[in-house]
């Protein structure tokens, strides 16, 4: 069943479109931030803070992984392909599980591509300025692995949300609004809550500072980020709950 879902992804132009969007927006953001590093009170790239902000520009990749998860699930209802899917596999929970695994695998790719783009652009700016790389290879690798895992988990969250709310447009818009605005506002007004917000927690998995949303800047939050394991457990918990709720409700609904 995972092979089926992977083949569906491979034969969808949307998959490549979202991956392209993630790569291009990440590159644009990274170039923009890199060219302005060290000016207007932005930390320079030869500081640990500046380089961390530069190498953790992963928000667009994380978002696109979540959006792909939504499309993997809700696309079946948008195009009425759920009929064929459930005729082939009448046990719908298995379909949901296969979609979650597939979205996680796709998320790994989205995360890896995003990390590859942001690190390449960031280190190019560092080299261009003739700066030393002030972060250790282990730290950079930890950011990369954190982002890649985070994108995989957000893909699974997307499948759960897309199964729960079958309107694809509403779900994608809701997810973007939540990530860009709701978490920023909530985390901005109530600093203590920021680390526990799911998208924010995912960005911190990849080393992004609180309040930056993985878009190359830092907020002025006074709270500390969650430890890696706690942040991962939080996001994985959200993925599990959303998928469990959809498995018990909308996934069982009539396909008419």
């Amino acid at each position: 069943m995972i092979r089926i879902e992977l083949l569906k992804l491979r034969t969808m132009r949307t998959t490549y479109g979202l991956l392209g969007i993630a790569a291009v927006l990440t590159a644009l953001d990274a170039v923009l931030r890199g060219s302005r590093a060290g000016v207007n009170k932005r930390p320079p790239l030869d500081s640990a803070t500046g380089l961390t902000q530069q190498l953790t520009i992963t928000g667009f990749g994380l978002l696109m992984a979540a959006v792909l998860g939504v499309i993997v699930a809700s696309g079946e209802f948008r195009h009425a392909t759920a009929t064929y899917t459930y005729l082939a596999t009448p046990h719908r929970e298995r379909v949901l599980l296969a979609k979650s695994v597939t979205a996680a695998l796709a998320g790994l790719v989205f995360g890896a591509v995003t990390v590859g783009v942001t690190i390449t652009v960031g280190l190019a700016f560092v080299a261009g300025h003739g700066y030393p790389v002030v972060l250790g290879a282990g730290t950079i690798a930890r950011y990369a692995v954190g982002t890649t895992i985070g994108a995989a988990v957000l893909g699974v969250v997307g499948v759960g949300v897309g199964s729960l709310v079958r309107s694809q447009l509403a779900t994608v818009l809701g997810m973007l609004v939540w990530s860009f605005f709701v978490e920023a506002i909530l985390g901005g007004f109530f600093n203590w809550i920021g680390p526990y917000l799911p998208f924010t927690a995912t960005t911190t998995l990849g080393g992004s500072p609180l309040g930056g949303g993985g878009f190359g800047f830092a907020g002025d939050s006074t709270a500390g980020t969650l430890p890696f394991a706690a942040a991962l457990a939080l996001v994985a918990g959200v993925a599990l709950v959303v998928n469990a709720v959809s498995a018990r409700t909308t996934v069982r609904a009539d396909i008419s």
């Binding site: 069943m1 064929y84 005729l87 082939a88 008419s256």
Partner: protein
């Protein structure tokens, strides 16, 4: 092969299928007929596990669809013309479906050829006509070479040549001994292929019989030409005789003799120019059972 027992589906206040019971034996081709909205599609979707019945059971080969060990290898279904991702090619759609069962690798080319879509196999489905989508739906249904086929309005969108092609395809499948349940609101689609018909109206079974018996047991139809068709229809209906205005100057009556109709018309000074009595054909029977012309 197919057993429907007391099948009922209620959507809120709407009773879509009402205590439906019928069987389809192995090797039979059964026309599942009824006007639009009669409950045919809902019944088929309950049979295929896509819609949960409010009451009753729907079994294929003695099991619920969800409990079949090899669902796609047992039942092939073509339900909706729109059930394809528009950006995917026909071949890719079939590759995905093939992975769900045990289809041979060369089976995709076979079914594409069977439904005459070989030349369009690598085109995106979004550019297909409705008729081509119907053909792709049939190819999907046939992909795993199932013994049972469930086809929902498969002739919708087909041109006359396509309808003839479909009729020949169904006849071929029947000759191979497959069980076919084909729903339609157009009798001509099934009249030349079906062994039996099951007729549904407002969610209820109104007839289940071999085609020949259904026509033999039908009341003859009296066709009348008059300048006051609406008045004559109203008069006969008031007298308890079912009548249908089929054209501005024509009325069809199915439950009265020409003498009775003529006498009533004369009493009310309604001129009659012509009457003819004909043995009912399948279409007449359908309209008699479902209460109107479609």
């Amino acid at each position: 092969m197919i057993e429907i027992r007391g099948l009922t589906k209620r959507f809120g206040s709407v009773l879509a299928v009402d205590d439906l019971t019928f069987d389809v034996d192995a090797g039979q081709v059964v026309g599942f007929l009824g006007p639009n909205g009669a409950g045919k599609t809902t019944t088929l979707r309950m049979l295929l596990g896509l819609v949960t019945p409010t009451a009753g059971t729907a079994l294929v080969a003695g099991r619920r669809y969800v409990d079949l060990p090899d669902p796609t290898g047992t039942v092939g279904a073509a339900l909706e013309a729109a059930s394809f991702y528009p950006g995917r090619t026909a071949r890719d759609h079939l590759r995905i479906q093939a992975l769900a069962g045990r289809a041979r690798r060369d089976r995709i080319d076979e079914v594409l050829d069977l439904v005459d879509l070989t030349r369009a196999a690598d085109r995106r489905v979004g550019g297909f006509s409705l008729g081509m989508r119907q053909r792709l739906g049939l190819a999907t249904a046939l992909l795993h070479d199932p013994q049972v086929l469930i086809l929902d309005e498969p002739a919708n969108g087909l041109d006359p040549e396509g309808v003839r092609w479909l009729r020949e395809l169904l006849r071929g499948l029947a000759d191979e001994g497959r069980t076919v349940l084909i729903s339609s609101h157009i009798l001509a689609e099934v009249a030349q292929t079906a062994d039996n018909v099951v007729i549904l109206d407002h969610g209820r079974l109104v007839a289940e019989s071999p085609l020949s018996e259904l026509v033999a047991g039908a009341r003859p139809v009296v066709r009348i030409r008059t300048s006051r068709a609406e008045d004559l229809s109203a008069l006969l209906t008031t007298a308890g005789i079912p009548a249908t205005v089929v054209a501005p100057d024509r009325v069809e009556v199915s439950d009265a003799t020409p003498e009775r109709i003529g006498t009533l018309a004369a009493e009310h000074r309604i001129p009659i120019f012509e009457t003819s009595t004909e043995t009912a054909n399948l279409e007449d029977v359908f309209f008699q059972l479902t209460g109107g012309a479609q």
